[in-house]
Amino acid sequence: MLFNSLNFAIFLPIVFILYWFVTKSNLKAQNILLLASSYFFYACWDWRFMFLLVFSTILDYYTGIKIYESNNKKRKLLWLWISIGINLGFLGVFKYYNFFASSFADALSVFGIKTNLSTLQIMLPVGISFYTFHGLSYVIDLYKDRIKPERNFIDYSLFVSFFPLLVAGPIERATHLLPQIKKSRNFDLTKSIDGLRQILWGLFKKIVIADNCAEFANEIFNNSAHYSGSTLLLGAVFFTFQIYCDFSGYSDIALGTARLFGIDLLRNFAFPYFSRDIAEFWRRWHISLSSWFKDYLYIPLGGSKGGMWAKIRNTFIIFIVSGFWHGANWTFIVWGFLNALFIMPSIIFNTNRNNLNIVAQGRYLPTINEFFAITKTFFLAVLAWIFFRATNVTHAFEILSKIFSKSIISAPSFKGSANSFPILILLVIFNIVEWLGREQQFAIANMGLNWKRPIRWAFYYVIIFAIIYFGGKEQNFIYFQF
């Protein structure tokens, strides 16, 4: 069930009404309802993978209790590794088996050894990377004595499977979500209306911006051999907005939906394209994953302790692993490596925490320096996204070689370019709205709150008409494949 589908538009109000009217003020009933709805939501994709989700939940629930109850440190560690091993084992089989098999065969063929390693026709269970990371953070936190185990199986299952975050995050932490699941929740008018606004903005980002940019980005990337450097650069810019609006749009809908049920999820995006350097970009892009890797990989590896070389090594490791998390393809690994490379100057010169505040806070416009810093960071992000979007590494380099050729000095032209003008105008308007709302949780969080109701509603109607007008076939979200 897609967030941008009619099925979800029917599903959500039904769950909402049952939640606040039928199970009202009964926390246990509310949690059972949310869990049942979440399983139904997941089963709509493919009910067979429900077993995997339930198994993974039982595994972490049980090993979590075992870790906590073991007096012996070795035994604690054993239970931890059982959980990590099985979780990563599933991820490895479903997500990475074909990649390792074909890469291994390719590597052997370099030495003239022919192997007959067959790849498997495996379907990737939707959301596996996300719910596996939920479970891992839970057992690691237990092992590190940061939390106590959750004894209520329903509550724990809901922590793993809460439908707004189940298939594409945000990647939650037990310390943040479990206390909310265990606390009684009362209807909050402001929170609910805020949630609806966030859902609306998320749908706008996905349907109006991402899906339309996708049309042009796909045409340009799929036929890159026929296009000039300037067109390819424009294609990369379209993809840059596509992936941002697709994923952050999804996160907005997830956060907004959770708010309707009185639950606050972790923020996942904070206007990353207004970042002044790559370090700031990574504090604002897919925040729940970046912080996960920081807490469960970078810091255990030693973090910034142990001198400059250790810091550089650890930075490269988390970026490459993060790239690999996205998918079993060398393009994602190079994308991660490239981001590590881009962040290196701020690591080496210790400037990675220079831009912790919001750009041009309290001002309408950035300074000239800020403007150039934002432009530079955006351009670096665009270059890296080329690897993320390309079919393979060679394809990405072909695109880059054209972008850095003379053909960059030509007017971009591609099939359907005549129809791209309205989308370019929409992109400009979208960026203005995002800029104006950059100090909020999401761009239109505060926009129009002081306007008179007819004007405010007219603004929302315009957004709804745009969503309906530009909405064609229900398009999948990019991050579902991860």
């Binding site: 008018l189 609910s192 609806l196 099939k415 929302y460 709804i464 007008y469 909405g471 064609g472």
Partner: protein, 301 residues
């Protein structure tokens, strides 16, 4: 909670009213399918030549230039599967029918079911090729029969096309669409569709249906006239010779088995650029030439 529900209700009411209005307008819009169907029933007692097939026949065959009463029931993207159903449905009322013109264009053998147009055949002709229930479509034309974008365009234009014997045609040419660039793009899109279709079961089914229809017409003493419509050189030069040959072999096979007439005008030099509306469709001037050619074949018969 009460305030929340009231606010949501007040907010939704204008949207709902607008939606109902748009739905009503879309359901009463001028439809070419409807005009063709009504015209066919009206003229059924006199029709001797029935034109079926896709947009090339829809645009390229003007019934008024046939020497016998003719009717154009071809339509954009209409495939042989729908042609067959139309013949089966309307043959009982077409008492004088002698000839049926069928398309065998470059892509005809690879064109099967029309997901997005199925509903129109169901709604206007009572033909349901896939036995679908069309619940979604019946619920909302705005979302499921058309897309919101198309709906808005339709409501803005609401064209009332004048049709004579099921034909309207195009007056002139779109010069920008007669270029090699568009010709190449169009040929490539057909090749892509053909290659994809060849991997499906539907590909075999289309040929079987084609033969079934020819056999059925023969059994009812109706002569099938198979036509390959003329196209502009900037388009034809990019067509894959293998696909053209495949179609020719198919038609030769049909010719050996059944009584039929075939006219291949794909590269007919009698047609020049001024006869085309775009690279693969004739305009009114070209339609007159093309119709007369087919008519002379029928007269010879």
């Amino acid at each position: 909670m009460k305030k929340f529900l009231l606010t949501i209700t007040y907010f939704i009411i204008p949207l709902l009213v607008l939606f109902l209005f748009v739905e009503f307008k879309l359901r009463t819009i001028n439809s070419e399918y409807e005009k063709k169907q009504k015209g066919l029933v009206e003229k059924s007692s006199e029709i001797e030549i029935l034109i079926l097939g896709n947009s090339r026949s829809d645009n390229g065959l003007n019934p008024t230039f046939f020497s016998k009463p003719a009717y154009n029931l071809a339509y954009g993207s209409q495939t042989i599967l729908y042609d067959k159903q139309l013949v089966l449905k309307y043959l009982p009322i077409l008492k004088k029918l002698k000839h049926v013109v069928l398309s065998l264009d470059y892509h005809s053998l690879s064109s099967g079911y029309l997901q997005e147009r199925d509903f129109f055949y169901y709604h206007y002709f009572d033909i349901n090729v896939k036995n679908k229930n069309f619940i979604k479509e019946k619920l909302s034309y705005f979302f499921y029969v058309y897309t919101p974008k198309i709906s808005i365009t339709l409501l803005k234009e609401n064209k009332n096309v004048k049709m004579v014997n099921g034909w309207s045609g195009h007056d002139s040419s779109i010069s920008s669409r007669l270029t090699e660039r568009y010709g190449k793009e169009r040929a490539q899109s057909f090749d892509l569709a053909i290659n994809q279709s060849r991997k499906t079961k539907e590909y075999i089914e289309v040929q079987k249906e084609y033969e079934d229809l020819i056999r059925f017409l023969n059994e009812n003493k109706i002569t099938p006239i198979i036509t390959t419509a003329p196209c502009n050189k900037p388009f034809t030069q990019f067509l894959d010779e293998k696909n053209i040959q495949y179609n020719l072999e198919f038609i030769q096979k049909m010719k050996r088995k059944y009584n039929l007439v075939y006219l291949n005008s794909l590269n007919d030099s009698a047609f020049n650029v001024s006869d085309f509306y775009n690279n693969d469709h004739l305009n009114k001037k070209g339609a007159e030439k093309y119709t007369k050619k087919i008519d002379s074949l029928i007269i010879k018969q």
